[in-house]
């Protein structure tokens, strides 16, 4: 075996071992979810899947009222994703296609969003929501999230690469800017829309601090809080099979979305790294 082949084999070996290592926590969680409580505690540990997955999922589902939790998470994740995509497309379009007074100030202002994550302003925001009677509403869980630095950067980078002639031609043909945005620019933007959808849906589905503070009503709780309830209900001899069955259900929606749009997501990331 010459040196080059050895290198290739070694590269594959390292990558495959790392991949297995990274996948192990997920696999172990899955195996746990397929066993009875007794088998979950067997020694030596059983690393092959059992046949209790469905039963465990049903138990977890009933225990924390999973239907409501998933519905709430789905609503806020979809609404925030759509809101952020729409707002960032509009802002990015303005910053790339128009010269207007104050844009030198407004663009950096949009960039500060990432410097002020919600936790930094959580106490005043809570007071604000309480005084508006927004606690325990979808409004409190969605509207404060609508501005997106990532989204504006993503669409701006793309719109800067669209040839000037396209807009000129549209203008000569008598199209208004909004018609140009809607009929020409938007159809070209689907990759970015999909990438941002993944980023924001995953972000919102996994959000915990704010929903935990802004909701107390059990009908308004979200999936992440449900996982906490499953996990902390019995700390002594934790029912790992039930916890992990619930975890799999809660994990699935963002994971599926990422798998479906993995290429668009990767392309979106590539676009953020180019200047």
């Amino acid at each position: 075996m010459n040196r080059k082949t050895l290198n290739t084999v070694l590269t594959h070996a390292i990558l495959i071992i790392t991949l297995i290592g990274v996948a192990f926590p997920m696999y172990y969680a899955f195996v746990m979810a397929t066993h009875t409580h007794q088998d979950a505690y067997a020694f030596p540990p059983i690393l092959r899947p059992g046949n209790q997955l469905w039963n465990n999922m049903k138990t977890a589902w009933d225990r924390v009222n999973m239907g409501t939790l998933l519905k709430n998470s789905a609503i806020i994740a979809v609404v925030v994703s759509v809101g952020k995509i729409a707002f960032s497309i509009m802002a990015a379009f303005a910053f790339t296609h128009f010269k207007f007074r104050g844009s030198w100030f407004l663009f950096p202002l949009c960039m500060v969003t990432q410097m002020m994550p919600l936790p930094v302003r959580v106490i005043p925001l809570y007071r604000m929501m309480a005084s508006w009677n927004w606690l325990n509403t979808y409004r409190a869980l969605t509207i404060p999230y609508f501005a997106s630095t990532t989204g504006i950067i993503l669409f701006r980078q793309f719109y800067l690469t669209v040839p000037q002639e396209l807009a000129d031609a549209a203008r000569v043909d008598g199209a208004t800017p909004m018609q140009y945005l809607w009929n020409i620019l938007l159809p070209l933007s689907w990759t970015n829309v999909a990438a941002l959808l993944v980023i924001e849906f995953v972000y919102m589905w996994n959000e915990y601090l704010w929903p935990n503070i802004a909701t107390t009503d059990s009908g308004m709780r979200v999936a992440q809080i449900g996982l906490r309830m499953l996990y902390t209900s019995e700390r002594g001899a934790a029912e790992w099979n039930i916890i992990m069955a619930g975890l799999l259900i809660i994990m699935l929606p963002p994971l599926l979305l990422l798998i479906v749009f993995r290429r668009q997501f990767a392309q979106g990331i590539a676009m953020q790294t180019t200047k």
């Binding site: 915990y208 902390t232 997501f265 990767a266």
Partner: protein, 293 residues
């Protein structure tokens, strides 16, 4: 830039929604946090101006400094260990090998995991009764680790789970960054007799600095803020406050102990910290690299 010169009002209408959200839900609450940080809140909600006292007491508090120190160690580990592993994997997957595209995609999925999910998965691995990690370490060293009582074990648990959760995103960014490094530069280095190792440090790594700076920022944001869910669910800041990171302390002081003024001062300081990291990132990504002319 100006492709539609006859529209004066439209651009303002287009940026208005984003600006309104930023003004109402970001700038104003942040301003209030600054204001609140100079006050104490009585149990009945009345504000009393105390000047810089919240800040002075914060930096004099052993509890706060301990939390600050642990947050820094945690962030350094998440960034240092996480980015090193991610860069190594990204370098391997951008070699000329079969299935490179498959490997580049195969690590992505940890991005979809929430900090709570990662924390729960890893707490099973560290579980003192049945966890694989606890058993392995136990049989190798005879030392039984228990993250309920052992500060080091709890700290390792949240660090491992955090490195793991950020891996998919970090690899994805490094792969994209590596693909932007012009091949001619590497070839030029090879022709000049540089080894692969030298080529990496002299060409690839400097060219990658905007990507690295961006990832340092994103991972700092994770370590400072997003790790909250994992801490709240898995360790509740314990044992012995070893995982009570700054954000968790803000939450405890602000909502648990009702010390809103003190918690606001902590928020403002946390903002200053993240703003410094953000400013360094912006500086790194906009300054011309050694190879730009």
């Amino acid at each position: 830039m100006n492709r539609f010169p006859n529209h004066r009002i439209l651009p303002y209408a287009l940026v208005m929604p984003s600006i309104a959200v930023i003004a109402i839900f970001l700038i104003i609450p942040f301003g209030q946090a600054v204001y609140l940080s100079f006050h104490r809140v009585s149990p009945f909600g009345a504000l009393r101006n105390v000047g810089w006292r919240n800040y002075v007491e914060m930096f004099a508090s052993a509890e706060y400094l301990f939390s600050f120190r642990n947050t820094m160690i945690f962030s350094a580990l998440v960034i240092g260990v996480g980015l090193t592993i991610a860069l190594c994997i990204a370098l391997l997957t951008t070699q000329k090998i079969r299935g490179a595209a498959f490997y580049q995609i195969a690590f992505i999925w940890t991005y979809a995991m929430s900090p709570i999910i990662a924390g729960v998965m890893w707490s099973l691995i560290f579980d003192p009764a049945i966890g694989i990690m606890a058993r392995l370490i136990g049989s190798a060293t005879g030392y039984s680790i228990n993250y309920f009582t052992d500060p080091v074990a709890a700290f390792l648990l949240v660090t491992a789970a955090s490195v793991w959760i950020m891996l998919g995103y970090n690899i994805c960014f490094f792969v994209a960054g590596l693909q932007n490094v012009p091949h001619e530069l590497k070839e030029a280095a090879w022709i000049d007799g540089a080894t692969t190792w030298q080529t990496f440090w002299v060409v690839t790594f400097p060219m990658l600095s905007p990507t690295t700076a961006f990832l340092v920022f994103v991972n700092t944001v994770y370590a400072f803020f997003q790790s909250f869910g994992m801490i709240d669910v898995v360790t509740q800041g314990g044992p012995n406050r070893s995982t009570e990171f700054l954000i968790y302390k803000i939450y405890r002081d602000g909502f648990g102990r009702m010390q809103e003024g003190q918690a606001a001062a902590q928020s403002v300081f946390l903002f200053v910290l993240i703003a410094i990291v953000g400013a360094v990132q912006i500086y790194t990504s906009t300054k011309k690299s050694v190879y730009d002319r």
